[in-house]
């Protein structure tokens, strides 16, 4: 039976035609699916290829210097001696300062946006804080160089040198000339830059706490602070840590703002008031000046180290954040 007469609507439905059409459509579907699959796989390929290409580009430096590349603090472009310790140290220290500032402030902002502020204020203030994340890092850099550095040099650093510099144990960290540029300034600017990232994650996860949990605690007579500290924070702990690591990942890889205010000096100094260097700033400053293969390779090897470190930090962040999502039942 090849044709089905349909008296009611006066049409004949052609079986062969339907079959042909469904074959075509199946083929189109398969093609569409393959296309989308390729695009999704590309995302994976990009990350893998980025890692592989930097490992390959940096192989000359890794082969020449071996593991000493990481612990050697000599960076001599003329003598072709490259050790990454100064930029690695600078990256870690400036990010640590950033975290010391950003974690408590972000927690305070999340607290304000979820518990303290009147409802009508939460939207606008939250949007304003998120605008901080939208400002490009080059603007942070320019503002840092032309406004914040002079401000630090004139008002903050002399005080730091005089008072914190006199404190036993940590004193040497804060002793030095008030240059303005340096590790402390860079750390503060980085801290400001990551506040919106950490605070928006904290705010979002604080909102996921079931109202019944919070209300039970309030019903027992808890204060707002006790609810946040004893109910909200334990419930969201892993996601809060995830948000912090997300901010850390940002701070480690931040380039332009740090390049402006860190001072770009390949020297190791005890004081946080002295200029230093970071991995990203070294690459940004010196890449186009690299005049020898080993110099270029050393810079790409630095990029590879940065990639590995941020990958680990961001992977931890994501795993921590997924934990809460799973608890939520998504």
């Amino acid at each position: 039976m090849s044709a089905l007469p349909s008296a009611a609507i006066g049409l004949t439905i052609d079986d062969a035609h339907i079959k042909a059409r469904s074959v075509v459509e199946t083929r189109q579907d398969a093609f569409f699916r393959a296309l989308l699959f390729a695009a999704a796989t590309l995302v994976l390929l990009i990350l893998g290829a980025a890692a592989a290409s930097m490992l390959w580009g940096g192989r000359l430096a890794f082969e020449t210097f071996g593991w000493k590349f990481i612990v050697n603090d000599e960076w001599d472009a003329v003598g072709h001696q490259f050790g990454a310790f100064v930029p690695i140290y600078g990256t870690l220290v400036s990010s640590a300062i950033a975290m010391v500032i950003a974690i408590p402030v972000s927690f305070g902002i999340a607290l304000f946006l979820t518990e303290i502020a009147p409802t009508w204020l939460r939207g606008p203030v939250g949007a304003a804080i998120e605008l901080l994340a939208g400002i490009p890092s080059i603007i942070y850099g320019m503002w840092g160089l032309f406004s914040f550095v002079p401000f630090m040099a004139a008002y903050v650093l002399p005080w730091v040198d005089l008072h914190l510099g006199a404190v036993p144990w940590i004193g040497p960290l804060f002793r030095g000339p008030p240059l303005g540029i340096g590790m402390l300034t860079a750390g503060i600017v980085l801290g400001i830059m990551v506040i919106p990232f950490i605070s928006s994650v904290m705010r979002d996860v604080f909102r996921t706490v079931p109202a019944s949990l919070k209300e039970s605690a309030y019903a027992l007579g808890s204060t707002t602070w006790e609810v946040v500290w004893n109910v909200v924070l334990p419930y969201t702990r892993s996601a809060v840590v995830g948000g912090i690591f997300l901010g850390l990942g940002r701070a480690l890889g931040e380039t332009m703002a740090v390049t402006f205010v860190l001072g770009n000096a390949h020297q190791l100094s005890e004081s946080l008031l002295m200029p230093g260097n970071s991995i990203a700033a070294t690459i940004a400053n010196e890449f186009t000046e690299a005049d020898s293969d080993i110099y270029l390779s050393a810079l790409i090897a630095l990029g590879f180290l940065l990639f590995v470190v941020t990958f680990i930090v961001l992977a931890i962040a994501r795993l921590m954040l997924y934990n809460l999502a799973r608890k939520e039942g998504h």
Partner: protein, 288 residues
């Protein structure tokens, strides 16, 4: 109330007020920097803004000029970055949301990797594109700059597309499929239409992110004091010019850097405010 309970009660109240005060102070601290940075940028930028900015090319050291070539270069590379990155991102996001139901492990792996790519340092992506498209070709070019920017747009669009499509109710898919429509048509003509506001938001967010990006352009597009003859040649962009001019010792270059910073900041602020307003207006259409 005995004396002891009164003491504990008061201590709890004091702690609570203290914590709330710190919360307000932290918020004020965050907003303080926002206003300081915007004020400095807008103030310095306003004073540096002249008609010559839009008509003349970037000057030699210490000279007078404008940013016309950098503005056009930025426009071209950002546009190309979005044109390359957005379709790929939409396709990948669609796969994750619609077509990966039989490969959940693969889907979660790609989501995980995309999330990492989303926050990966942009300078690392610049290095990658350098080895991919500059070293292999032998010279810096606007095209490689556009590719680097596309790599930044891509994960943003993947994520928003994935999330928006997942918000589209299943009823819509089932209704369309029950009519015998093939899946690709359901996706393109039904789901994309429902999710369009969300996907567009993702594309605009991607555009906002790349229009201020400097690090990935430093060693892909490099810079050019004059008009780039084509995207095959080194191409100047506003952020890279701002970087170069701000770090220089010349006052005329500083003024141009502020003007560039002003244009970039205003563009990004307007874009993000417009995106936010657009999303607020359309959010319920997408979810309904």
């Amino acid at each position: 109330m005995s004396r002891a309970t009164g003491f504990y009660y008061r201590r709890r109240r004091v702690t609570d007020v203290f914590a709330k005060t710190l919360g307000v102070a932290a918020t004020a601290f965050g907003l303080f920097w926002l206003f300081w940075i915007l004020l400095v940028t807008l103030n310095n930028g306003m004073h540096a803004l002249t008609p010559a900015i839009f008509t003349q090319t970037t000057p030699p050291p210490g000279g007078e000029g404008g940013l016309a070539n950098a503005l056009v270069g930025s426009f071209e590379m950002s546009l190309l970055g979005v044109l390359i990155g957005a379709p790929l991102g939409i396709a990948a996001g669609t796969y994750l949301s619609e077509f990966a139901e039989r490969h959940p492990a693969w889907r979660e792996t790609i989501r995980f990797v995309n999330d990492i790519l989303l926050s990966a340092p942009s300078i690392v992506l610049g290095l990658f594109v350098y080895t991919l498209a500059v070293r292999s070709v032998g010279h810096f070019s606007g095209w490689s700059g556009a590719i680097a920017l596309a790599l930044i747009v891509l994960p943003v669009v993947v994520r928003t597309t994935d999330e928006t499509l997942r918000l589209v109710p299943n009823v819509m898919r089932e209704a369309a499929l029950s009519l015998g429509i093939p899946r690709w048509k359901v996706t393109v003509q039904v789901l994309y239409r429902a999710a369009a506001p969300g996907i567009l938001t993702g594309v605009l967010l991607g555009l906002a992110r790349i229009s201020g990006e400097t690090a990935p352009l430093l060693f892909t597009a490099l810079n050019n004091q004059f008009w780039a003859p084509s995207l095959n040649a080194p191409t100047s962009s506003v952020p890279v010019v701002v970087f170069q001019f701000a770090m220089s010792p010349y006052d005329s270059w500083h003024a141009l850097a502020w003007a560039g910073a002003f244009i970039v900041t205003v563009f990004i602020l307007l874009l993000s405010v417009a995106t936010r307003a657009y999303l607020l207006r359309n959010r319920f259409d997408a979810a309904a």
